[in-house]
């Protein structure tokens, strides 16, 4: 009768501890600041992947437009940082001092109204969550209430990603256009560029990531988490069990959007700029690939997927820049065809049983009576 009565079962606890060890101890100790900052950049995608686990892995809602929410979160953060970097003193060579440089280049002479509230950090933090959250709510309501789902929904999210990119590029006086918002310097007077700031930001991000992991795990263990799985398989049965399927889909989509937005905001802080190249169709699809490679139903797998694919991307695109995109495509096809549950599936199917067998055989060799421990090695999921 004991079904998931604990917050983490044994293998999840191992996964949690292993990830915490790697992110909090091993990587910071073994990498220089430049590489650690790269990891911080990779981890911003782990937030997106985590959201996709909830939305796609559990709820079966494939969104190919998570870059939209990553971008919205990132731009909200970047707007705050850009305003702070555009003090009158810093921009006195401009024809209109005190506004972001790209506005000055585009003959804009006063700060637009929608930029004004981004002087406040509190507002910015709220906006990072609420703007993408509300946008997802609107898209989700419009789509799911009309029973638009599956591939149609995926295509529409792609269209939204394309539209937002075009909008950002086209309105360069307000958004910085194709170059994005660059030259971000300080957060409330604290310089985000030097090495020690990068290390602090890395740890802050990892803390946030673990916060999101715990939230995702919490949702997974509630009845809502089980309804998401149920919905993925038998939407009608859920509907005829008295649930409004659309509302649950909207919730999952909004959670995924908020996670992605937090990742985007951390991207602006850690990398020091934000541009439309992280909003469009290609980055959105890459985000889905991270989730697929990690294992779309595995919370920890998503983080590993984002880390490993990005490691591979950096090292491969350094040596074979043209080949990388083909490599990524091949990886996606290979994962979908051969390992639909990604790395976490490989772990659960091949590695975990071996460890269990090893532990079990060692126990029986030591002549212990208790065979009960073997039964404890239940499947990972």
């Amino acid at each position: 009768m004991i079904i998931n009565s604990r917050f983490f079962n044994r293998s999840e606890l191992i996964g949690f501890v292993a990830l915490a060890l790697v992110l909090f101890v091993i990587l910071p100790l073994s990498l220089d600041v430049f590489r650690l900052n790269l990891v911080a950049k990779y981890l911003t995608y782990a937030f997106v992947a985590l959201g996709l686990v909830l939305c796609w892995g559990y709820g079966g809602i494939l969104s190919l437009g998570q870059g939209v929410f990553f971008g919205l979160g990132g731009y909200c953060m970047a707007m705050f940082l850009k305003l702070e970097a555009s003090s009158v003193e810093n921009t006195k060579i401009q024809s209109t001092p005190g506004i972001p440089d790209f506005m000055d280049w585009n003959q804009i002479t006063s700060l637009p109204l929608f930029w004004q509230p981004f002087h406040s950090l509190t507002f910015t933090v709220l906006a990072i969550i609420l703007v993408p959250g509300l946008f997802a709510l609107i898209i989700g309501t419009a789509m799911f209430k009309r029973r638009v789902g599956g591939t149609y929904f995926a295509i529409i999210t792609q269209a939204v990603a394309a539209i937002l990119t075009i909008l950002i590029v086209g309105q360069q006086g307000y958004t910085g256009g194709i170059n994005g918002m660059t030259d971000l310097r300080t957060l409330k007077g604290w310089d985000i560029r030097p090495d020690h700031a990068k290390v602090i930001l890395y740890f802050f991000e990892v803390f946030l990531l673990f916060g999101c992991i715990l939230i995702a795990q919490f949702i997974r263990l509630t009845k809502l988490g089980r309804i998401l799985v149920a919905m993925r398989e038998q939407e009608d049965r859920v509907r005829f069990s008295g649930y409004s399927v659309a509302n649950f889909k909207i919730f999952a989509f909004c959670m995924a959007a908020i996670f992605a937005a937090i990742g985007g905001a951390m991207f602006a802080l850690n990398v020091g700029f934000m541009s439309p190249s992280f909003v469009g169709i290609v980055p959105s699809i890459e985000m889905v690939i991270y989730t697929a490679v990690g294992g779309r139903t595995s919370i920890f797998g998503a983080v590993w997927g984002a880390l490993l694919v990005n490691f591979a991307k950096t090292s491969l695109s350094e040596s074979f820049p043209q080949l990388w995109l083909f490599g990524l495509g091949a990886l996606f096809i290979a994962v979908v065809l051969a390992f639909p549950n990604g790395l976490s599936g490989i772990w659960a199917d091949y590695v975990q049983p071996r460890i269990d067998r090893l532990l079990a055989s060692r126990k029986s060799r030591s002549g212990a009576w208790a065979d009960n421990s073997v039964a404890d090695g239940a499947p990972a999921e």
Partner: protein, 251 residues
């Protein structure tokens, strides 16, 4: 029916129900009434519109015209989940259970509490839930399989599980679409026993082809043919109706 024109409190009143798919009338001007605690069986040849009638009542298909009143509420204007909440439960023809969840979790999802998004986030698996799940699991012969994932159940067991999922909702009107189809002989007997137990204290609308089974449980039989009622009444009456013999029974 209308002796002295006394308005009778029907549980379900279907009146002048019509649905047309691109001009083809799958259900044509259909009217019938189900009383409280009545077991009504719908029979008829393939394509007669039996499943469509259930789809219309539970909201899966929208009616072109006509009305479906359940306890005085107009169902044609409600959404599927609202219809469930008024007390109508539906079992599908093919077993539709959640295969990636355990038997316990399948039943728990159907437990009528915490059906909103935030309600389900706050839902606690308390003793009342556990007790009810175990109670229903015992009824559907799955008491010792609570931790089994539903994809490991046999076809018959899946059917029972779905019946259990309906049972835990405790609907006033239970609609079953071919509950014994595809079952082995022993499973069939067990299911009949199960159904006989659960149809007490509620109205049931059943679609079934198994005549032996129909005779066992039906209070009243409605024969559908080409979306219309061909005959209606007791099994005895329907069986001897020459029209019914011609299109359905006597082939």
């Amino acid at each position: 029916m209308l002796i002295g024109h006394q308005p009778k409190p029907f549980l379900l009143a279907v009146e002048a129900l019509t649905v047309s798919f691109d001009g083809f009338k799958a259900v044509n001007n259909l009217s019938f009434y189900v009383e409280e605690n009545e077991i009504r069986v719908i029979i008829g040849p393939n394509g007669a519109g039996k499943t469509t009638v259930l789809d219309l009542i539970c909201g899966k298909t929208k009616a072109t015209s006509g009305s479906i009143q359940f306890r005085g509420k107009e169902l044609t204007k409600l959404k599927e989940n609202q219809i469930v909440q008024t007390g109508v439960g539906r079992k599908f023809q093919t077993p539709s259970v959640f295969e990636d969840l355990t038997v316990f979790e399948n039943l728990e999802i159907s437990y009528p509490r915490g059906r909103t998004v935030f309600g389900s986030l706050a839902f606690q698996r308390d003793d009342a839930v556990k007790q009810r799940v175990e109670e229903v699991a015992e009824m559907i012969f799955l008491k010792d399989r609570l931790d089994t994932y539903a994809d490991q159940l046999s076809h018959g067991q899946k059917q029972w599980l779905e019946i259990g999922m309906l049972l835990i909702q405790d609907p006033e009107l239970l609609m079953l679409d071919e509950p014994v189809a595809g079952m082995s002989v022993s499973e069939r007997a067990k299911t009949a026993e199960l159904l006989n137990r659960i149809i007490k204290d509620r109205s049931v609308l059943v679609i079934e082809h198994d005549m032996k089974f129909v005779e066992d449980i039906a209070h009243k039989v409605t024969v559908l043919h080409q979306g219309q009622i061909l005959s209606e009444g007791t099994m005895e009456k329907v069986k001897n109706d020459p029209k019914v013999i011609e299109v359905y029974l006597g082939h």
